[in-house]
Symmetry: C2
Subunit: 241 residues, 2 copies
DNA sequence: TTAACGAGTTAACGGCGTTAACTTTCAGGC
DNA sequence: GCCTGAAAGTTAACGCCGTTAACTCGTTAA
Protein backbone atom coordinates (compact mmCIF):
# COMPACT_ATOMS: atom_id res chain seq x y z
CA UNK A 1 0.00 0.00 0.00
CA UNK A 2 1.25 3.44 -0.86
CA UNK A 3 1.95 5.62 2.14
CA UNK A 4 1.92 8.86 0.18
CA UNK A 5 -0.39 11.40 1.78
CA UNK A 6 -2.99 13.01 -0.43
CA UNK A 7 -2.07 16.52 0.64
CA UNK A 8 1.50 16.82 1.84
CA UNK A 9 2.28 19.14 4.69
CA UNK A 10 4.29 21.84 3.02
CA UNK A 11 4.85 24.98 5.07
CA UNK A 12 2.43 27.57 3.75
CA UNK A 13 5.02 30.32 3.38
CA UNK A 14 7.88 28.23 2.10
CA UNK A 15 9.28 27.88 -1.36
CA UNK A 16 8.21 24.26 -1.66
CA UNK A 17 4.63 25.25 -1.03
CA UNK A 18 4.80 27.91 -3.70
CA UNK A 19 6.19 25.48 -6.29
CA UNK A 20 3.45 23.01 -5.46
CA UNK A 21 0.75 25.64 -5.90
CA UNK A 22 2.15 26.54 -9.29
CA UNK A 23 2.23 22.87 -10.30
CA UNK A 24 -1.41 22.45 -9.30
CA UNK A 25 -2.31 25.51 -11.34
CA UNK A 26 -0.36 24.28 -14.36
CA UNK A 27 -2.12 20.93 -14.23
CA UNK A 28 -5.51 22.60 -14.40
CA UNK A 29 -4.29 25.00 -17.08
CA UNK A 30 -3.05 22.12 -19.21
CA UNK A 31 -6.15 20.04 -18.65
CA UNK A 32 -8.33 22.91 -19.70
CA UNK A 33 -6.28 23.55 -22.82
CA UNK A 34 -6.70 19.93 -23.82
CA UNK A 35 -10.42 20.14 -23.09
CA UNK A 36 -10.80 23.22 -25.26
CA UNK A 37 -8.56 22.21 -28.13
CA UNK A 38 -9.24 18.48 -28.39
CA UNK A 39 -12.42 17.78 -26.48
CA UNK A 40 -13.27 16.11 -23.19
CA UNK A 41 -11.83 12.77 -24.28
CA UNK A 42 -8.38 14.30 -24.48
CA UNK A 43 -8.25 15.32 -20.83
CA UNK A 44 -6.03 12.44 -19.89
CA UNK A 45 -3.48 11.95 -17.15
CA UNK A 46 -0.85 10.84 -19.62
CA UNK A 47 -1.58 13.70 -22.01
CA UNK A 48 -1.48 16.32 -19.26
CA UNK A 49 1.78 14.91 -17.93
CA UNK A 50 3.24 14.75 -21.44
CA UNK A 51 2.41 18.40 -22.06
CA UNK A 52 4.06 19.29 -18.79
CA UNK A 53 7.19 17.28 -19.52
CA UNK A 54 6.42 14.72 -16.86
CA UNK A 55 5.16 11.19 -16.60
CA UNK A 56 1.64 10.24 -15.65
CA UNK A 57 2.27 8.71 -12.22
CA UNK A 58 3.76 12.01 -11.07
CA UNK A 59 0.29 13.53 -11.19
CA UNK A 60 -0.73 11.23 -8.35
CA UNK A 61 1.30 13.52 -6.11
CA UNK A 62 -1.35 16.13 -6.77
CA UNK A 63 -4.61 14.29 -7.35
CA UNK A 64 -5.82 10.92 -6.17
CA UNK A 65 -6.70 9.95 -9.73
CA UNK A 66 -8.19 10.98 -13.01
CA UNK A 67 -11.66 11.55 -11.60
CA UNK A 68 -10.43 13.87 -8.88
CA UNK A 69 -8.43 15.90 -11.38
CA UNK A 70 -11.45 16.37 -13.62
CA UNK A 71 -13.49 17.24 -10.57
CA UNK A 72 -10.99 19.96 -9.64
CA UNK A 73 -11.12 21.26 -13.21
CA UNK A 74 -14.90 21.35 -12.99
CA UNK A 75 -14.76 23.32 -9.76
CA UNK A 76 -12.40 25.87 -11.20
CA UNK A 77 -14.68 26.31 -14.20
CA UNK A 78 -17.67 26.82 -11.92
CA UNK A 79 -15.66 29.49 -10.14
CA UNK A 80 -14.74 31.20 -13.38
CA UNK A 81 -18.35 31.17 -14.53
CA UNK A 82 -19.47 32.53 -11.18
CA UNK A 83 -16.92 35.34 -11.50
CA UNK A 84 -18.15 36.18 -14.98
CA UNK A 85 -21.74 36.31 -13.80
CA UNK A 86 -20.84 38.40 -10.77
CA UNK A 87 -18.93 40.81 -13.00
CA UNK A 88 -21.96 41.15 -15.27
CA UNK A 89 -24.12 41.77 -12.23
CA UNK A 90 -21.80 44.50 -11.00
CA UNK A 91 -21.41 46.16 -14.37
CA UNK A 92 -24.36 48.44 -13.61
CA UNK A 93 -24.68 48.32 -9.84
CA UNK A 94 -27.35 50.99 -9.67
CA UNK A 95 -29.55 49.64 -12.43
CA UNK A 96 -31.62 47.53 -10.08
CA UNK A 97 -31.94 43.78 -9.77
CA UNK A 98 -34.16 43.39 -12.83
CA UNK A 99 -31.69 44.94 -15.22
CA UNK A 100 -28.85 43.19 -13.44
CA UNK A 101 -30.48 39.78 -13.77
CA UNK A 102 -31.01 40.48 -17.45
CA UNK A 103 -27.32 41.18 -17.82
CA UNK A 104 -26.44 38.02 -15.91
CA UNK A 105 -28.68 35.86 -18.11
CA UNK A 106 -27.07 37.17 -21.25
CA UNK A 107 -23.65 36.75 -19.73
CA UNK A 108 -24.46 33.11 -19.00
CA UNK A 109 -25.36 32.53 -22.63
CA UNK A 110 -22.33 34.46 -23.84
CA UNK A 111 -20.01 32.46 -21.61
CA UNK A 112 -21.54 29.19 -22.72
CA UNK A 113 -21.20 30.09 -26.39
CA UNK A 114 -17.65 31.31 -25.90
CA UNK A 115 -16.69 28.18 -23.92
CA UNK A 116 -18.88 25.37 -25.21
CA UNK A 117 -16.54 22.57 -24.12
CA UNK A 118 -16.31 23.98 -20.62
CA UNK A 119 -20.05 24.45 -20.46
CA UNK A 120 -20.49 20.88 -21.58
CA UNK A 121 -18.21 19.63 -18.83
CA UNK A 122 -20.25 21.54 -16.26
CA UNK A 123 -23.77 20.82 -17.42
CA UNK A 124 -23.91 18.14 -20.11
CA UNK A 125 -23.73 15.18 -17.78
CA UNK A 126 -25.54 13.70 -14.84
CA UNK A 127 -24.30 15.52 -11.78
CA UNK A 128 -24.22 12.20 -9.87
CA UNK A 129 -23.39 9.38 -12.26
CA UNK A 130 -22.79 6.86 -9.52
CA UNK A 131 -19.25 8.21 -9.35
CA UNK A 132 -19.07 11.73 -7.97
CA UNK A 133 -19.74 11.60 -4.29
CA UNK A 134 -22.00 14.38 -3.03
CA UNK A 135 -20.74 17.12 -0.82
CA UNK A 136 -17.61 17.67 -2.85
CA UNK A 137 -15.85 20.83 -3.83
CA UNK A 138 -17.68 20.92 -7.15
CA UNK A 139 -20.87 21.07 -5.17
CA UNK A 140 -19.70 24.15 -3.32
CA UNK A 141 -18.48 25.89 -6.46
CA UNK A 142 -21.80 25.09 -8.06
CA UNK A 143 -23.47 26.93 -5.25
CA UNK A 144 -21.21 29.94 -5.78
CA UNK A 145 -22.39 29.98 -9.37
CA UNK A 146 -26.08 29.51 -8.64
CA UNK A 147 -25.86 32.00 -5.81
CA UNK A 148 -25.40 34.90 -8.20
CA UNK A 149 -28.72 34.10 -9.83
CA UNK A 150 -30.45 33.32 -6.56
CA UNK A 151 -29.19 36.50 -4.94
CA UNK A 152 -30.70 38.70 -7.61
CA UNK A 153 -33.92 36.75 -7.49
CA UNK A 154 -34.11 37.36 -3.75
CA UNK A 155 -33.64 41.05 -4.37
CA UNK A 156 -36.47 40.97 -6.87
CA UNK A 157 -38.62 39.17 -4.33
CA UNK A 158 -37.87 41.93 -1.80
CA UNK A 159 -39.09 44.44 -4.37
CA UNK A 160 -42.39 42.60 -4.19
CA UNK A 161 -43.09 42.07 -7.87
CA UNK A 162 -43.29 38.30 -7.81
CA UNK A 163 -46.77 36.84 -8.00
CA UNK A 164 -46.31 33.15 -7.27
CA UNK A 165 -48.83 30.78 -8.83
CA UNK A 166 -51.76 30.14 -6.53
CA UNK A 167 -53.03 26.78 -5.44
CA UNK A 168 -49.75 24.94 -5.81
CA UNK A 169 -49.74 21.76 -3.84
CA UNK A 170 -46.80 22.14 -1.47
CA UNK A 171 -46.10 18.43 -1.42
CA UNK A 172 -42.58 19.17 -2.65
CA UNK A 173 -39.69 21.18 -1.29
CA UNK A 174 -38.52 19.69 1.97
CA UNK A 175 -34.84 20.43 1.45
CA UNK A 176 -35.52 24.12 1.66
CA UNK A 177 -33.12 24.26 4.55
CA UNK A 178 -30.09 23.80 2.34
CA UNK A 179 -31.29 26.44 -0.07
CA UNK A 180 -31.95 28.84 2.79
CA UNK A 181 -28.51 28.14 4.20
CA UNK A 182 -26.99 29.34 0.96
CA UNK A 183 -29.31 32.32 0.87
CA UNK A 184 -27.71 33.61 4.06
CA UNK A 185 -30.75 34.21 6.16
CA UNK A 186 -33.40 35.44 3.78
CA UNK A 187 -36.71 33.88 4.81
CA UNK A 188 -37.90 33.32 1.27
CA UNK A 189 -41.32 31.62 1.14
CA UNK A 190 -41.68 28.27 -0.49
CA UNK A 191 -43.73 29.37 -3.45
CA UNK A 192 -41.22 32.06 -4.27
CA UNK A 193 -38.43 29.49 -4.28
CA UNK A 194 -40.68 27.58 -6.60
CA UNK A 195 -40.62 30.54 -8.97
CA UNK A 196 -36.84 30.72 -8.65
CA UNK A 197 -36.44 27.08 -9.62
CA UNK A 198 -38.87 27.42 -12.50
CA UNK A 199 -36.93 30.37 -13.87
CA UNK A 200 -33.57 28.67 -13.39
CA UNK A 201 -34.86 25.59 -15.17
CA UNK A 202 -36.03 27.65 -18.06
CA UNK A 203 -32.80 29.59 -18.33
CA UNK A 204 -30.70 26.45 -18.18
CA UNK A 205 -32.80 24.69 -20.78
CA UNK A 206 -32.67 27.58 -23.19
CA UNK A 207 -28.91 27.90 -22.99
CA UNK A 208 -28.20 24.18 -22.99
CA UNK A 209 -30.40 23.33 -25.93
CA UNK A 210 -28.62 25.96 -27.99
CA UNK A 211 -25.06 25.22 -26.93
CA UNK A 212 -25.48 21.48 -27.36
CA UNK A 213 -26.62 22.01 -30.93
CA UNK A 214 -30.13 20.67 -30.52
CA UNK A 215 -31.44 23.81 -32.19
CA UNK A 216 -29.28 23.83 -35.28
CA UNK A 217 -31.96 22.07 -37.25
CA UNK A 218 -34.36 24.96 -36.95
CA UNK A 219 -32.67 28.25 -36.17
CA UNK A 220 -29.68 29.95 -37.65
CA UNK A 221 -29.63 32.64 -34.99
CA UNK A 222 -31.20 31.69 -31.65
CA UNK A 223 -30.46 35.08 -30.11
CA UNK A 224 -33.99 36.54 -30.51
CA UNK A 225 -35.46 33.43 -28.96
CA UNK A 226 -33.15 33.78 -26.02
CA UNK A 227 -33.92 37.46 -25.50
CA UNK A 228 -37.59 36.71 -25.64
CA UNK A 229 -37.19 33.91 -23.11
CA UNK A 230 -35.30 36.18 -20.75
CA UNK A 231 -38.11 38.70 -21.08
CA UNK A 232 -40.61 36.07 -20.03
CA UNK A 233 -38.42 34.93 -17.17
CA UNK A 234 -38.15 38.46 -15.86
CA UNK A 235 -41.88 38.97 -16.31
CA UNK A 236 -42.42 35.92 -14.13
CA UNK A 237 -40.18 37.60 -11.56
CA UNK A 238 -42.24 40.78 -11.64
CA UNK A 239 -39.99 42.81 -13.92
CA UNK A 240 -41.73 43.30 -17.26
CA UNK A 241 -39.63 44.55 -20.15
CA UNK B 1 -5.98 -2.73 -46.49
CA UNK B 2 -8.92 -4.83 -45.44
CA UNK B 3 -11.26 -5.69 -48.29
CA UNK B 4 -14.20 -6.53 -46.03
CA UNK B 5 -17.31 -4.69 -47.14
CA UNK B 6 -19.16 -2.66 -44.55
CA UNK B 7 -22.49 -4.26 -45.37
CA UNK B 8 -22.14 -7.69 -46.89
CA UNK B 9 -24.59 -8.70 -49.59
CA UNK B 10 -26.53 -11.44 -47.92
CA UNK B 11 -29.69 -12.49 -49.72
CA UNK B 12 -32.56 -10.82 -47.93
CA UNK B 13 -34.67 -13.95 -47.59
CA UNK B 14 -31.89 -16.41 -46.84
CA UNK B 15 -30.89 -18.01 -43.61
CA UNK B 16 -27.58 -16.18 -43.47
CA UNK B 17 -29.34 -12.85 -43.61
CA UNK B 18 -31.60 -13.85 -40.76
CA UNK B 19 -28.67 -14.88 -38.57
CA UNK B 20 -26.95 -11.60 -39.29
CA UNK B 21 -30.02 -9.59 -38.34
CA UNK B 22 -30.23 -11.45 -35.05
CA UNK B 23 -26.55 -10.78 -34.37
CA UNK B 24 -27.03 -7.09 -35.04
CA UNK B 25 -29.98 -7.05 -32.67
CA UNK B 26 -28.04 -8.90 -29.97
CA UNK B 27 -25.19 -6.42 -30.21
CA UNK B 28 -27.53 -3.51 -29.57
CA UNK B 29 -29.31 -5.44 -26.83
CA UNK B 30 -26.02 -6.17 -25.11
CA UNK B 31 -24.74 -2.62 -25.54
CA UNK B 32 -27.88 -1.25 -24.03
CA UNK B 33 -27.74 -3.61 -21.08
CA UNK B 34 -24.20 -2.46 -20.36
CA UNK B 35 -25.30 1.16 -20.70
CA UNK B 36 -28.14 0.66 -18.24
CA UNK B 37 -26.35 -1.51 -15.72
CA UNK B 38 -22.86 0.00 -15.71
CA UNK B 39 -23.08 3.39 -17.36
CA UNK B 40 -22.00 4.84 -20.68
CA UNK B 41 -18.33 4.13 -20.04
CA UNK B 42 -19.04 0.41 -20.02
CA UNK B 43 -20.39 0.33 -23.58
CA UNK B 44 -17.22 -1.12 -24.98
CA UNK B 45 -16.46 -3.26 -27.99
CA UNK B 46 -14.57 -5.74 -25.87
CA UNK B 47 -17.25 -5.86 -23.19
CA UNK B 48 -20.05 -6.37 -25.70
CA UNK B 49 -18.10 -9.11 -27.45
CA UNK B 50 -17.25 -10.73 -24.12
CA UNK B 51 -20.90 -10.81 -23.09
CA UNK B 52 -21.77 -12.39 -26.42
CA UNK B 53 -19.05 -15.01 -26.16
CA UNK B 54 -17.01 -13.50 -28.98
CA UNK B 55 -13.87 -11.47 -29.42
CA UNK B 56 -13.83 -7.76 -30.09
CA UNK B 57 -12.58 -7.76 -33.71
CA UNK B 58 -15.58 -9.87 -34.72
CA UNK B 59 -17.79 -6.84 -34.12
CA UNK B 60 -16.08 -5.11 -37.02
CA UNK B 61 -18.11 -7.45 -39.25
CA UNK B 62 -21.15 -5.49 -38.11
CA UNK B 63 -20.00 -1.97 -37.38
CA UNK B 64 -17.14 0.07 -38.72
CA UNK B 65 -16.00 0.88 -35.20
CA UNK B 66 -17.00 1.84 -31.71
CA UNK B 67 -18.44 5.19 -32.72
CA UNK B 68 -20.72 3.67 -35.34
CA UNK B 69 -21.98 1.06 -32.88
CA UNK B 70 -22.86 3.73 -30.32
CA UNK B 71 -24.48 5.74 -33.09
CA UNK B 72 -26.66 2.76 -33.99
CA UNK B 73 -27.57 2.31 -30.34
CA UNK B 74 -28.50 5.98 -30.20
CA UNK B 75 -30.72 5.64 -33.23
CA UNK B 76 -32.53 2.64 -31.81
CA UNK B 77 -33.15 4.53 -28.59
CA UNK B 78 -34.53 7.49 -30.52
CA UNK B 79 -36.86 5.05 -32.26
CA UNK B 80 -37.98 3.54 -29.00
CA UNK B 81 -38.63 6.96 -27.51
CA UNK B 82 -40.54 7.97 -30.63
CA UNK B 83 -42.65 4.84 -30.33
CA UNK B 84 -43.40 5.58 -26.69
CA UNK B 85 -44.44 9.14 -27.52
CA UNK B 86 -46.57 7.99 -30.44
CA UNK B 87 -48.26 5.44 -28.21
CA UNK B 88 -49.03 8.13 -25.66
CA UNK B 89 -50.40 10.30 -28.42
CA UNK B 90 -52.67 7.53 -29.65
CA UNK B 91 -53.86 6.53 -26.20
CA UNK B 92 -56.78 8.94 -26.49
CA UNK B 93 -57.10 9.56 -30.21
CA UNK B 94 -60.29 11.57 -29.95
CA UNK B 95 -59.18 13.80 -27.10
CA UNK B 96 -57.85 16.47 -29.42
CA UNK B 97 -54.30 17.65 -29.97
CA UNK B 98 -54.12 19.66 -26.76
CA UNK B 99 -54.84 16.72 -24.49
CA UNK B 100 -52.69 14.50 -26.68
CA UNK B 101 -49.71 16.82 -26.46
CA UNK B 102 -50.13 16.92 -22.71
CA UNK B 103 -49.96 13.15 -22.64
CA UNK B 104 -46.89 13.15 -24.85
CA UNK B 105 -45.08 15.64 -22.63
CA UNK B 106 -45.70 13.56 -19.56
CA UNK B 107 -44.67 10.44 -21.42
CA UNK B 108 -41.40 12.11 -22.35
CA UNK B 109 -40.68 12.85 -18.70
CA UNK B 110 -41.77 9.39 -17.64
CA UNK B 111 -39.54 7.74 -20.24
CA UNK B 112 -36.59 9.91 -19.25
CA UNK B 113 -37.02 9.10 -15.57
CA UNK B 114 -37.46 5.41 -16.29
CA UNK B 115 -34.42 5.33 -18.60
CA UNK B 116 -32.03 8.02 -17.36
CA UNK B 117 -28.91 6.45 -18.89
CA UNK B 118 -30.58 6.17 -22.26
CA UNK B 119 -31.88 9.70 -22.02
CA UNK B 120 -28.40 10.87 -21.17
CA UNK B 121 -26.97 9.16 -24.22
CA UNK B 122 -29.52 10.89 -26.41
CA UNK B 123 -29.49 14.38 -24.99
CA UNK B 124 -26.67 14.92 -22.53
CA UNK B 125 -23.96 15.60 -25.05
CA UNK B 126 -23.17 17.92 -27.88
CA UNK B 127 -24.97 16.57 -30.92
CA UNK B 128 -21.95 17.43 -33.07
CA UNK B 129 -18.78 17.02 -31.04
CA UNK B 130 -16.48 17.16 -34.05
CA UNK B 131 -17.09 13.45 -34.37
CA UNK B 132 -20.60 12.61 -35.45
CA UNK B 133 -21.01 13.57 -39.04
CA UNK B 134 -24.34 15.18 -39.86
CA UNK B 135 -26.92 13.49 -42.00
CA UNK B 136 -26.53 10.17 -40.27
CA UNK B 137 -29.12 7.65 -39.21
CA UNK B 138 -29.27 9.15 -35.75
CA UNK B 139 -30.31 12.38 -37.36
CA UNK B 140 -33.23 10.69 -39.08
CA UNK B 141 -34.34 8.88 -35.94
CA UNK B 142 -34.11 12.15 -34.08
CA UNK B 143 -36.56 13.58 -36.56
CA UNK B 144 -38.91 10.68 -36.02
CA UNK B 145 -38.87 11.54 -32.34
CA UNK B 146 -39.29 15.26 -32.77
CA UNK B 147 -41.94 14.69 -35.41
CA UNK B 148 -44.40 13.42 -32.84
CA UNK B 149 -44.19 16.70 -30.98
CA UNK B 150 -44.12 18.80 -34.14
CA UNK B 151 -47.11 17.00 -35.61
CA UNK B 152 -49.30 17.74 -32.63
CA UNK B 153 -48.13 21.33 -32.60
CA UNK B 154 -49.11 21.66 -36.24
CA UNK B 155 -52.55 20.31 -35.40
CA UNK B 156 -52.84 22.88 -32.65
CA UNK B 157 -51.81 25.56 -35.10
CA UNK B 158 -54.57 24.40 -37.47
CA UNK B 159 -57.03 24.82 -34.64
CA UNK B 160 -56.00 28.44 -34.66
CA UNK B 161 -55.29 28.98 -30.98
CA UNK B 162 -51.68 30.04 -31.30
CA UNK B 163 -50.99 33.74 -30.89
CA UNK B 164 -47.39 34.21 -31.94
CA UNK B 165 -45.50 37.07 -30.33
CA UNK B 166 -45.76 40.21 -32.40
CA UNK B 167 -42.88 42.30 -33.61
CA UNK B 168 -40.33 39.49 -33.69
CA UNK B 169 -37.41 40.38 -35.85
CA UNK B 170 -37.37 37.62 -38.49
CA UNK B 171 -33.62 37.76 -38.88
CA UNK B 172 -33.45 34.09 -37.90
CA UNK B 173 -34.87 30.93 -39.42
CA UNK B 174 -33.44 30.37 -42.87
CA UNK B 175 -33.31 26.61 -42.65
CA UNK B 176 -37.07 26.42 -42.54
CA UNK B 177 -36.95 24.26 -45.61
CA UNK B 178 -35.61 21.26 -43.74
CA UNK B 179 -38.23 21.66 -41.04
CA UNK B 180 -40.97 21.97 -43.63
CA UNK B 181 -39.69 18.87 -45.40
CA UNK B 182 -40.21 16.88 -42.23
CA UNK B 183 -43.60 18.48 -41.69
CA UNK B 184 -44.83 16.86 -44.90
CA UNK B 185 -46.24 19.82 -46.66
CA UNK B 186 -47.80 21.93 -43.95
CA UNK B 187 -47.12 25.59 -44.78
CA UNK B 188 -46.49 26.60 -41.20
CA UNK B 189 -45.59 30.29 -40.89
CA UNK B 190 -42.25 31.31 -39.50
CA UNK B 191 -43.50 32.85 -36.30
CA UNK B 192 -45.48 29.70 -35.50
CA UNK B 193 -42.36 27.60 -35.94
CA UNK B 194 -40.79 30.06 -33.56
CA UNK B 195 -43.43 29.14 -31.00
CA UNK B 196 -42.79 25.45 -31.65
CA UNK B 197 -39.09 25.85 -31.01
CA UNK B 198 -39.69 27.90 -27.89
CA UNK B 199 -41.99 25.23 -26.50
CA UNK B 200 -39.64 22.39 -27.42
CA UNK B 201 -36.75 24.21 -25.77
CA UNK B 202 -38.76 24.66 -22.62
CA UNK B 203 -39.89 21.07 -22.52
CA UNK B 204 -36.38 19.77 -23.10
CA UNK B 205 -34.89 22.01 -20.46
CA UNK B 206 -37.44 21.05 -17.86
CA UNK B 207 -36.93 17.34 -18.38
CA UNK B 208 -33.17 17.52 -18.75
CA UNK B 209 -32.55 19.61 -15.67
CA UNK B 210 -34.50 17.12 -13.60
CA UNK B 211 -33.10 13.91 -15.07
CA UNK B 212 -29.53 15.14 -14.87
CA UNK B 213 -29.96 15.86 -11.19
CA UNK B 214 -29.46 19.61 -11.35
CA UNK B 215 -32.65 20.03 -9.34
CA UNK B 216 -31.92 17.68 -6.47
CA UNK B 217 -30.60 20.53 -4.38
CA UNK B 218 -33.98 22.24 -4.26
CA UNK B 219 -36.86 19.92 -4.93
CA UNK B 220 -37.70 16.50 -3.61
CA UNK B 221 -40.54 16.03 -6.06
CA UNK B 222 -40.31 18.06 -9.28
CA UNK B 223 -43.58 16.68 -10.64
CA UNK B 224 -45.74 19.72 -9.80
CA UNK B 225 -43.19 21.99 -11.43
CA UNK B 226 -43.30 19.87 -14.54
CA UNK B 227 -47.09 19.83 -14.70
CA UNK B 228 -47.16 23.56 -14.26
CA UNK B 229 -44.61 24.01 -17.02
CA UNK B 230 -46.61 21.82 -19.38
CA UNK B 231 -49.65 23.95 -18.59
CA UNK B 232 -47.74 27.06 -19.60
CA UNK B 233 -46.43 25.41 -22.74
CA UNK B 234 -49.93 24.43 -23.78
CA UNK B 235 -51.20 27.89 -22.95
CA UNK B 236 -48.56 29.28 -25.30
CA UNK B 237 -49.95 26.92 -27.94
CA UNK B 238 -53.48 28.18 -27.44
CA UNK B 239 -54.72 25.39 -25.21
CA UNK B 240 -55.24 26.72 -21.67
CA UNK B 241 -55.73 24.18 -18.93
C1' DT C 1 -17.40 -29.10 -57.47
C1' DT C 2 -15.18 -25.36 -56.54
C1' DA C 3 -14.27 -20.63 -55.85
C1' DA C 4 -15.72 -16.63 -53.37
C1' DC C 5 -17.22 -14.68 -49.35
C1' DG C 6 -19.15 -14.08 -44.58
C1' DA C 7 -17.94 -14.87 -39.79
C1' DG C 8 -14.86 -15.52 -36.55
C1' DT C 9 -10.20 -16.25 -34.56
C1' DT C 10 -5.28 -14.95 -32.68
C1' DA C 11 -1.52 -11.69 -32.36
C1' DA C 12 -0.07 -7.29 -32.12
C1' DC C 13 0.25 -1.94 -31.59
C1' DG C 14 -0.39 2.13 -29.11
C1' DG C 15 -2.96 4.63 -25.54
C1' DC C 16 -5.34 4.70 -21.23
C1' DG C 17 -5.64 4.63 -15.58
C1' DT C 18 -3.32 2.82 -11.90
C1' DT C 19 0.09 0.65 -8.68
C1' DA C 20 4.63 -0.63 -6.83
C1' DA C 21 9.32 0.10 -6.13
C1' DC C 22 12.78 2.99 -6.75
C1' DT C 23 15.82 7.53 -6.96
C1' DT C 24 16.60 12.34 -6.33
C1' DT C 25 16.00 16.72 -4.24
C1' DC C 26 15.28 19.62 -0.59
C1' DA C 27 13.59 21.65 4.15
C1' DG C 28 14.16 21.60 8.97
C1' DG C 29 15.89 19.86 13.54
C1' DC C 30 19.94 18.39 16.11
C1' DG D 1 26.83 21.63 8.94
C1' DC D 2 25.13 17.35 8.68
C1' DC D 3 21.36 14.07 8.65
C1' DT D 4 16.96 12.47 8.29
C1' DG D 5 12.65 12.20 6.37
C1' DA D 6 9.32 13.64 3.28
C1' DA D 7 8.07 15.52 -1.30
C1' DA D 8 8.61 15.01 -6.25
C1' DG D 9 9.51 12.38 -9.86
C1' DT D 10 11.11 8.21 -12.33
C1' DT D 11 10.68 3.34 -14.62
C1' DA D 12 8.30 -1.02 -15.04
C1' DA D 13 4.35 -3.45 -15.06
C1' DC D 14 -0.81 -4.89 -15.12
C1' DG D 15 -5.12 -4.97 -17.26
C1' DC D 16 -8.23 -2.33 -19.78
C1' DC D 17 -9.45 -0.05 -24.35
C1' DG D 18 -10.00 0.60 -29.97
C1' DT D 19 -8.11 -0.97 -34.01
C1' DT D 20 -5.61 -3.56 -37.70
C1' DA D 21 -3.55 -7.55 -40.06
C1' DA D 22 -3.32 -12.19 -41.21
C1' DC D 23 -5.35 -16.20 -40.77
C1' DT D 24 -9.05 -20.36 -40.52
C1' DC D 25 -13.49 -22.33 -41.25
C1' DG D 26 -17.98 -23.04 -43.03
C1' DT D 27 -21.56 -21.70 -46.11
C1' DT D 28 -23.23 -20.11 -50.40
C1' DA D 29 -23.64 -19.46 -55.17
C1' DA D 30 -21.94 -20.18 -59.93
Amino acid sequence: MSSTPRTPRTAVGGRRHRVREEALAEILRTGRRLLVEEGPGAVTLRAIAREMGMTAPALYRYYAGHRELVQALTSSLYDELADALAAARDRHPAAGPGRQLREVCHELRAWALAHPREFGLLFAKPVADADTTPGTVAHDSGWRFGGVLLGLMVELWRKGGIRPPTGLDPSWAAQLEEVREHLSGAPVPLDVIYVFVACWTRLYGTVAVEVFGHLDFALTDPEPLFTHTVDEILAALGEPR
